[in-house]
């Protein structure tokens, strides 16, 4: 059985990355001719049975006060216990902030091989081999999992959400003991209304060519016309023009949106490392020699202060 960890946001909604994980888990289960089931630990506000549309037949739900707040240690213990109880042979996580915290713990606990950051379904005709992103997006590695139980965390935006509106999953209460978390959550803060960068399908990113934080209005307008998240280059975050969580690249976040629009960014190799898995890259730069054009699909050589507002207008006209 393939067991999918369903990641729940702080407001109780099912994260988009969880739908990707469900779709991936269901496709893998089909390939292996086994069932796909889900696991929910955090409090939810959505109707879980509707997640059956993504191909899971059953969802194990552990309801416990102690799981109110995320704690990698207690969550991992429960995941491993459910996996053992249900005889799961493959566990699927998203390689997002929760998955990065729990999946390695579950792997070490169950002595199960982990492929972190998978970008495709496993090759199962001869062994169990999963392609993952390495060298910060500059290459891929085929990783053989050598253990009976396998754990895969999939990169956000690398697997399409696919559902059939008719499916419905059976919800079962899993009776599992839960330890009180050793970590006490004090507060969580979210930039409300914004699209989380790692999950965003479109990202608008600004570099030093923006000249200063006061000029970000034009990027915000472009982003809102596209329902996009904002990102930036490292010097922009270092200069505190933008918050650190928007920094992408080798030492910042790695993203793989459908569309990445780079504005006033030269395209240094360390920047490209975090964004070159984007499906389509648009570069707006006044320097025709900017290295970013070599990694781009579409480009405009021009003054961003002139081009960006025009692009926003053109998109609104579509």
């Amino acid at each position: 059985m393939v067991l999918v960890f369903i990641d729940i946001a702080e407001d109780g909604s099912v994260k988009k990355t969880a739908l990707e994980a469900l779709s991936y888990g269901a496709a893998l289960a089909k390939q292996l001719n086994v069932a796909a089931e889900g696991l929910v630990l955090a409090p939810v506000t959505e109707d879980l049975s509707a997640l059956g549309q993504y191909g899971v037949t059953k969802i194990h739900q552990v309801k416990n006060e102690a799981l109110q707040h995320f704690d990698a240690q207690s969550y991992a213990k429960v995941c491993a216990a459910v996996a053992e109880q249900t005889g799961a042979t493959v566990l699927i996580f998203s390689h997002n902030t929760s998955g990065k915290a729990i999946a390695p713990r579950v792997a070490a606990r169950m002595k199960a091989g982990l492929v972190a950051g998978a970008v495709a379904l496993p090759e199962t005709s001869n062994g169990f081999i999963v392609k993952k992103s390495v060298f910060s997006g500059k290459a891929f590695a085929d990783v053989s999992v050598l253990t009976t139980v396998k754990i895969i965390s999939i990169n956000p935006n690398s697997f399409k959400v696919e559902g059939d509106a008719n499916g419905s999953a059976e919800i079962v209460d899993a009776d599992i003991a839960v330890d009180a978390p050793l970590i006490k959550t004090i507060s969580t803060s979210k930039q409300s209304g914004e699209v989380p960068l790692a999950e965003a399908e479109i990202v608008v990113s600004g570099g030093r060519g923006m000249k200063g934080p006061e000029n970000w209005g034009i990027l915000e307008d472009l982003a809102s016309s596209l329902h996009a998240a904002l990102a930036c280059s490292r010097p922009v975050a270092d200069a505190h023009w933008r918050p650190h969580n928007e920094h992408v690249g080798q030492t910042g976040g790695a993203i793989a949106p459908n569309l990445y629009i780079a504005v006033g960014i030269s395209g240094a190799i360390q920047h490209l490392a975090g964004v070159n898995r984007s499906k389509v890259i648009v570069v707006i730069n006044k320097d025709p020699e900017a290295p970013f054009f070599k990694a781009a699909d579409y480009g405009i050589v021009g003054d961003l202060f002139d081009v960006v507002p025009k692009l926003t207008e053109a998109i609104k006209q579509l």
């Binding site: 946001a9 702080e10 995320f70 990698a72 240690q73 997002n96 902030t97 929760s98 990065k100 915290a101 729990i102 390695p104 713990r105 579950v106 606990r109 002595k111 199960a112 091989g113 982990l114 492929v115 972190a116 950051g117 081999i129 993952k132 390495v134 910060s136 290459a139 085929d142 990783v143 053989s144 050598l146 978390p181 050793l182 970590i183 006490k184 004090i186 969580t188 989380p196 790692a198 479109i202 650190h244 969580n245 910042g252 790695a254 190799i269 360390q270 898995r277 570069v283 070599k294 699909d297 579409y298 480009g299 405009i300 021009g302 003054d303 002139d306 053109a314 998109i315 006209q317 579509l318």
Partner: protein, 247 residues
Amino acid sequence: MKILVCISKTPDTTAKIAFTDNNTKFDAGSVQWIINPNDEYYALVRAIELKEADSSTIVHLVTVGGADTDAIIRKALALGGDEAIRINTECADSFSIAAQIAAVAKEGNYDLIFTGKETIDYNGSAVGGMLAELLDLPYVSLATKFELNGNAATVTREIEGGEEICEVSLPVVVSCNKGMAEQRIPNMRGIMAARTKPLKVVEPAAVEPLTSISEFSLPPAKTGVKLIDADNVAELARLLKEEAKVI
């Protein structure tokens, strides 16, 4: 207070990524090696800051790797830290690295273990969590701020589209993300001092890897950029919608 900082070596960020032996090995040919930036800028510098705030604090560095890792660990010692431990074995997979570090960590009785948020070559973001599980300690991942208050810590960590502040008592394993500290440049005094700091080489524990890499590949090259005239911006919007179908 005793802190252990996990240091790994990675190819320089500008290194050409190529493979040999039928694409089964990284071509290290002319590659320059550096301290994994996440380990250096965020984990190591924050540990040094904690030592500067309380001089009784002891900072140990640990790395899993062969003798060719010594140059990197000396570079790390030049930034700070009291001594380094190198576990003398080639890295097999995240789990075996974590298991090797766990063996050293158990002996050292550390209050605090820092890792980087991920290696920039393997991109697992996994060793810290595995290490925490093997030591049965709490784990705060992707920490952007870390403040000590006595025997506990207040840590800010990244979550999707925001952050979370939590409290945890020591000992704890923390993976360090941008925001924890700022990059430092080693000075001459540090470099001189690093030469005489102890670098202990210990033999590895018996650990079997759980995964292995069978082959590497490179992403397909871009076919070339389509340039649109700056006077015809609307054409770009049209192409994105009708040709690329991404908006």
